[in-house]
Symmetry: C2
Amino acid sequence: MHRPTAGRPESRGERKERTRRAILDAALELSGETSLVALSLRQVAKEVGIVPTAFYRHFDSIEALGVALVDESFVSLRAMLRDIRRGDPAFSDVVDRSITILVEHVHRQRSHFLFIARERAAGPPAVRDAIHHEIELCERELATDLARLPATDPWSAEDLRILSNLIVMAMVATAEAIMTAPPRPDAEKAIIETARAQLRMVLIGALNWQSRT
Amino acid sequence: MHRPTAGRPESRGERKERTRRAILDAALELSGETSLVALSLRQVAKEVGIVPTAFYRHFDSIEALGVALVDESFVSLRAMLRDIRRGDPAFSDVVDRSITILVEHVHRQRSHFLFIARERAAGPPAVRDAIHHEIELCERELATDLARLPATDPWSAEDLRILSNLIVMAMVATAEAIMTAPPRPDAEKAIIETARAQLRMVLIGALNWQSRT
């Protein structure tokens, strides 16, 4: 078995990866106080303890760094969607489990979710575009899953897109509500109960929906 | 009839009101480039052409200025909700008109709506709280209106709140989508069609909803 020897000098590649990670973490933390648009490359470099020019070995700009953070954030979001998909594809049972998984992921990846919530509306254009693109991808994946359910057999592709857009929108709003909730267990519980009832309401609407093909 | 004479010297009160307006407009414009949290009192004063200390004659802080902008923004939002309420309170017909009025208001008050969208997630705490409070008030007003409809007679107060929260959430998402849409008429048309179908889906779900009283 090959194990790294304790005290083994760090390789060039490892050091580069560690600095890249430190830059991403610093940007995540610093942008939490203001927003990515107000963040300078100099501030990030200072926080990490590198000279500003060294920043460019890792990212072309603050915008490029922001897009990398969007990519990272959606790795966890996609994992969440995969978890939901893995279960029994019953149309109504899926609600409780989806919300539970969403809440778990928001807590585990709190700084990433806060970053997305903030930069979605207030970030630099390239970052906003990247977030909208990723949310659209989530909607398309969900539409593909919904298309597999027997209940949606008579539905048009357009109506599947409209439903998945509505569900993703409700999920985004729930995630944002959880992040801004006062730190009391009953506050989060109320948000979860509301989200469950809303998703059930949406699904009841969908089940009674007459698709115009 | 009393008319202000052309060339009449401006009164002290009028000048004060004009400066206050200029400060609000400058903050609205400058915060559009970054966010209110990144905006300094000095920048606003410079844009208006006043000394920084003169700022305090109008607002205690940038946060207080932000809360005043939230108040202004929701005057137009409440006017919108009043317009929707004024019409025939049929449960399904109201959808098309609601969306039309929303889109009109987003275009008319574009900078205010952009401000709300941005600061809701990325603004200073006092401004974020003010926005959440105003959105909650909108939800409560809508819940009161929904309670008057015969279709919701057997509903619990909690379910009325859940439905109005879902509708307001969909309206907020639609407004944000319109503001970030590419400037093509067909892009906006697609968002409007999606929003109409979604609200109809939600209302069909609501009409088939079995309230747990």
